[in-house]
Symmetry: C2
Subunit: 454 residues, 2 copies
């Protein structure tokens, strides 16, 4: 299913734009125009002449110019009529944000909608969804205003969420954390386009490197697993399955009307397809960060570099806990480091460059470790509270990271000063984590995914 | 062991204050004076007349006025002599930040120090530590400058860390997150004052409501468990034990020279003493937040209130996973809510006030749930991306929280706007969590601790 028009149409028609700035259609219109979308925008409202200076048309059929993509935000009772209008206007790609279908028991209306879409050979996302956005083209049809949900910078993560609220919360949060996105898709009732179609589309999308997926139910299990398996051979897919316990499944039933199955069944099937299972939103976000930034490591041997002994220990604990290996550096590296580092530094795994560490000391250690064939991955702990470490450590790490010899991840816990360094590192493609366990758990997913993929 | 002078002395003498603003003694002096400490400060440096306008004395013994507390920042070779000087000056409470003792193999020097301290009947924290601070009195002797490590506002959490780097990183991070502290203690080599002494002291400290503890090794296991058991009957103790795996233990050995034992042994003993075990820094911080803010719940039955179905499901999943119970509201509550809420809201557990939720709708639900005897705890999900929710939801929640009928926790994921609301809530004592699983896992610790305590 080619969904290109949902993300890079040359013209968008929004049907159901109210004068009331709180109403969905109005928010979509204003957000799209203010956000820098370069295509043409047309709006439909039979009861208004113009809104925010833009001419309103009584129906989409009254517009002479070509419209590639329609957004439907009218009350549910009017949706079927609007679809017929779109058909007459030869629009094939339609987003329906209107709610009021099977999720509130209107199964018949939902069935009629499905029939109509199929009859007209249209592609449809929704209904009962939040909208979709493309961070590059700024084709942004999410009905939450910018002052409530931040919009991401362009990046390689695409995020599909059955739940609109979960999706928007995660997008808002991770944008604030500096994460960059390709596409965001809230798909609601999945009446004709379901999670499998979206996966398949994103599998082929050249802007998407990592796919994140929040699922409550799955419409067609077999289709989903076949698609997921195929796509996972090309790109990592990180999935959260909501409603995995009995209590969650019960809550899920009353939410979208989809029956959430048992955790073991789902997770077992997901693992077979080499999907990456996240147990929380936070995990998904951490995993996405590492997949977005790191190329495949050659093996699982991690060298820890730290300026705080305690964090070195915690990181070593996590490496063992999550099934990675502690690297054992070569004799040559060891003797070089013993020569170059101060006497009270500890040359082992962890390498402890101790509390008076400077940028230069990190540079020495990183350069040596990148040359060592016994080391596959570098986990660099930067506790920036220490007084002698200077912000140019960012340049040292990013320059070496750009050479792509081994994946480098950074672990930093701190306040204002640490955040400054962290932001600079992430801006330049070095994945940073707040705590050792988050970092290593994410790293373990990276190693495992690429191992199975091979 | 009465350690009051480490936190509320009327006068402090700092021995070893260099002119060099990068040196430890200088940083401590400047930080203490700039930070608003109200007591008298004296500085010792035989090679300077004055530093930052303050008279330098050649020795602590040259000072006529009374000094209640000494901070020693001289090179390790001079420490023993300085201790004798302090004894002559009748100072009984001494912090030694100087490094160079058993941690680098100088076991003899460490033994001599111990003997001297005991002979003079002094109380000593250190050596090889970062310092201590009291957020109320501003007696702050941590040797990291304020532009590298943020200082917390006064609150009820006290944090003991064997590792200086871990301690300072956590303090810096959690201060940035808005967490408030009573006391911070980095205790280094634990030569005379160990983790048990510190626990016992904090157990009696009226400013401390929650004790957080980062341990690598334990000096005297029996003493520790006896003390911990006693203190845990009064106050929650949250502990991270670094070096729990083989890899971690190996790293720990080379770090502080303390032998880190096996995870199971430690954790088993900790649980018997009703200590709360955190597996990561983040967990510790989340647990501390809930213990600091929430009074004991009457039971384990949690009612979820949400404006996003997906988050309701995730929260329900977590409740089951972490051994809490889903509350079943009374018939009366149910019928009241059905009457008062819009038709498409879902009245169950979760209560879904749906995407067009207003502050008023949250107010109705919270008030009803607080009256219901079938509910022990409220988990309130606020996805503030939705357009109609207004910031006065903060007033509604904090006013009800102040009545202390049932513990209320809030779950919010988001960007700038959400952060604004979150900060306001936390400022007024409502614990907020970024994700459902963090929140519920922390809640489970609260329930369990108080159950065992009873």
């Amino acid at each position: 299913m080619n969904l290109d028009k949902f993300f890079k149409a040359k013209s968008v028609g929004i049907i159901g734009v109210s004068k009331d700035p709180q109403k969905i259609g109005h928010v979509i219109f204003k957000t799209l125009v203010d956000g820098g979308y370069k295509g043409k925008v047309f709006i439909v409202n039979p009861n208004a002449k113009d809104i925010l200076g833009k001419t309103c048309y009584p129906s989409i059929t009254n517009i002479k110019e070509k419209i590639e993509f329609a957004v439907v935000a009218v009350p549910f009772r009017l949706v079927l009529k609007v679809i017929d209008d779109c058909a007459r206007k030869k629009i094939k790609d339609i987003l329906i944000v209107s709610a009021g279908f099977k999720e509130i028991g209107n199964k018949k209306l939902e069935a009629q909608l499905k029939e109509k879409i199929e009859k007209h050979k249209m592609r449809m996302i929704g209904p009962n969804c939040l909208g979709v956005l493309d961070a590059r083209t700024k084709q942004d049809t999410v009905f939450l205003p910018r002052n409530r949900m931040m919009r991401p910078k362009p990046g390689g993560i695409s995020f599909i969420s059955q739940s609109g609220a979960v999706g928007s919360a995660i997008l808002d949060y991770s944008t604030k954390q500096g994460q960059k996105f390709a596409k965001f898709i809230s798909y609601g009732n999945a009446t004709t386009t379901d999670e499998s179609d979206l996966l398949e589309y994103l599998g082929k999308d050249k802007d998407t490197n990592v796919i994140c997926l929040y699922l409550e139910g799955i419409k067609d299990g077999k289709k989903f697993l076949e698609t997921a398996k195929k796509v996972a051979k090309k790109k990592p897919i990180i999935v959260i399955k909501g409603g995995v316990t009995k209590a969650g499944a019960k809550a899920s039933l009353s939410h979208t009307g989809s029956l959430a199955g048992k955790a073991e069944v789902y997770h077992g099937a997901f693992r077979q397809a080499n999907l990456i299972i996240a147990n929380s939103v936070e995990e998904m976000f951490n995993y996405a960060r590492i997949f977005e930034n790191c190329f495949p490591p050659k093996g699982d041997r991690v060298q820890i570099i730290t300026d705080g002994g305690g964090y070195g220990i915690m990181t070593a604990d996590s490496i063992q806990k999550h099934g990675l290996a502690m690297a054992e550096m070569s004799r040559r590296t060891k003797s070089n480091l013993v020569k170059k580092l101060p006497k009270n530094a500890i040359v082992g795994n962890p390498i402890d460059v101790i509390g008076d560490a400077t940028t230069e000391r990190y540079s020495i250690v990183l350069n040596e470790c990148l040359l060592d064939k016994n080391i596959d991955i570098l986990a660099v702990i930067l506790l920036a509270q220490v007084p002698r470490l200077t912000p140019d450590v960012v340049d040292v790490i990013t320059e070496l990271n750009d050479k792509k010899k081994k994946p480098i991840i950074v672990i930093m816990t701190g306040g204002d000063f640490s955040d400054l360094i962290k932001r600079s590192l992430e801006e330049k493609g070095v994945p940073c984590f707040t705590f050792p366990d988050n970092a290593i758990k994410s790293l373990a997913q990276l190693v495992k995914y690429h191992k199975v993929k091979k």
